[in-house]
Symmetry: C2
Subunit: 267 residues, 2 copies
């Protein structure tokens, strides 16, 4: 039987935190990654537009005969899964449910914070999933739109980053949370400074780890082989490779650019 | 003769600084504004993609029978004008040439700084235009991608903004510039803090003002009438209206959302 790859899409480069986690845990798997770098970010976009783009991304990955679709993008995971399931019968795993479950399980005082893009926070998706476990959990949410730009600039230990973290997150200190969901794939890059900010007293939930147990059942059992990694983006290969190197710790190869949607370019 | 409107497009809401300037100076003009809020920002995108989107935006405005196209977006102005001129014979005015000319004229020591998005800075468009006036001018360029997010958050007088300004702009102090081109439509919102940073010793060039003399020759001579303003966006009307209020100082009406490009949304 021919080996089928796992497909991953994200709005851009941030989903490589999810790719990295899957790649390290399931080295035998073939993986195809698509980053929609032409239309990043999804965070500030409307629900309808995010669904539209998510369906286009899925159609592209389906052309690669994927056996499983992982949506690394939180914004997309929060609104698009039911619509994607209308166009394909393969399993679809987003980051919201695993992240919500991990947060619920790890929290002792059941006071949980959630940070993400405007779209993710507006969707209330993490809160909805957490409350399904137990509706007496207290949740507190805040959009942190500047975090993505800070990560993409590589300004992790910058004094400005510390002030911005305090601007956004002092709210959670007041609320006495013991767990914070990092509801955007870029945010785990900030974990060291977030841990410092909370003095190690708050559990940080990274969906790229939480998702692994959900993927387990679909993986290839032949662990003797080594899987391939293919990367596609819709724009700006150079920038993708630069940030990829920062997230993965090694350079990526086999990166191709593809055009999604109609082109009006005349030359 | 039927009155024809001026068309303005921008990658999003920032171009309202240009709209505001035109609206105040030519109150008799009808204006149609399109902000491509579904695909903002253009700054990090490749040249080809920016040209593609610019042509789609132009085609949309041409449907409104515009007599003149003003490209408020610096990134788009820096790469797309020759391609737009292939699809229409109406005059096309970008922000680069007027901004470059104003900077050249106002600078005494002919040491000029340019800030903008990654796309604008990479294009070298301002530098090329400035050097056409006199190739002995010294120019210094730097991309400041975080500025857009700071403006959109409304964090103008925030301590983090001061640190970020210093991170990006200390370079220009070392270079002894006397003029700085604000090569992104969002940046004029930061003018008060930039003036403070440079202690009022550096001329800030705002293309939304520099563009007015270029528009003069195309305007309606009947100054007794009051023009209309129509706004279109490709996504997220709510966020557009919020930031519009901040930039214009008054709320906008007559805002419609339009879909550009093919939709795959299924419901």
């Amino acid at each position: 039987m021919e080996k089928q790859p796992i497909g991953i899409f994200d709005s851009g480069v941030g989903g490589l935190t999810v790719f990295k986690s899957i790649r390290e845990t399931f080295p035998q798997e073939d993986i195809v990654y698509f980053g929609d770098t032409a239309r990043v970010p999804y965070g500030p976009k409307s629900k309808k537009t995010v669904i539209d783009y998510s369906i286009q991304n899925t159609r592209f990955l389906l052309q690669h005969n994927i056996k499983l679709l992982v949506i690394a993008c939180n914004t997309s995971s929060s609104v698009a899964i039911p619509y994607i399931q209308k166009i394909t019968s393969i399993p679809v795993i987003g980051v919201i449910l695993p992240g919500a479950e991990a947060a619920y399980n790890i929290s002792s005082n059941k006071r949980i914070g959630i940070i993400g893009t405007e779209g993710t926070i507006r969707s209330n998706a993490y809160v909805d999933e957490i409350l399904k476990f137990n509706d007496s959990v207290e949740t507190f949410s805040k959009a942190c739109p500047l975090f993505v730009s800070l990560v993409e600039e590589g300004w992790i230990k910058n004094p400005a980053t510390e002030i911005i973290i305090d601007n956004y997150l002092s709210y959670f200190k007041e609320k006495d949370i013991d767990t914070l969901v990092l509801g955007c794939t870029h945010y785990p890059v900030l974990s060291p400074v977030l841990n410092k900010y909370f003095e190690g007293k708050v559990n940080l939930v990274d969906s790229s780890h939480a998702i692994l147990s959900k993927i387990q059942q679909y993986v290839d059992e032949d662990k003797t082989c080594i899987g391939t990694s293919q990367f596609f983006v819709s724009d700006n290969e150079e920038k993708f490779m630069k940030i990829a190197n920062m997230i993965l710790g090694y350079p990526i190869h086999d990166l191709k650019r593809v055009a999604l949607g109609e082109s009006w370019f005349v030359d």
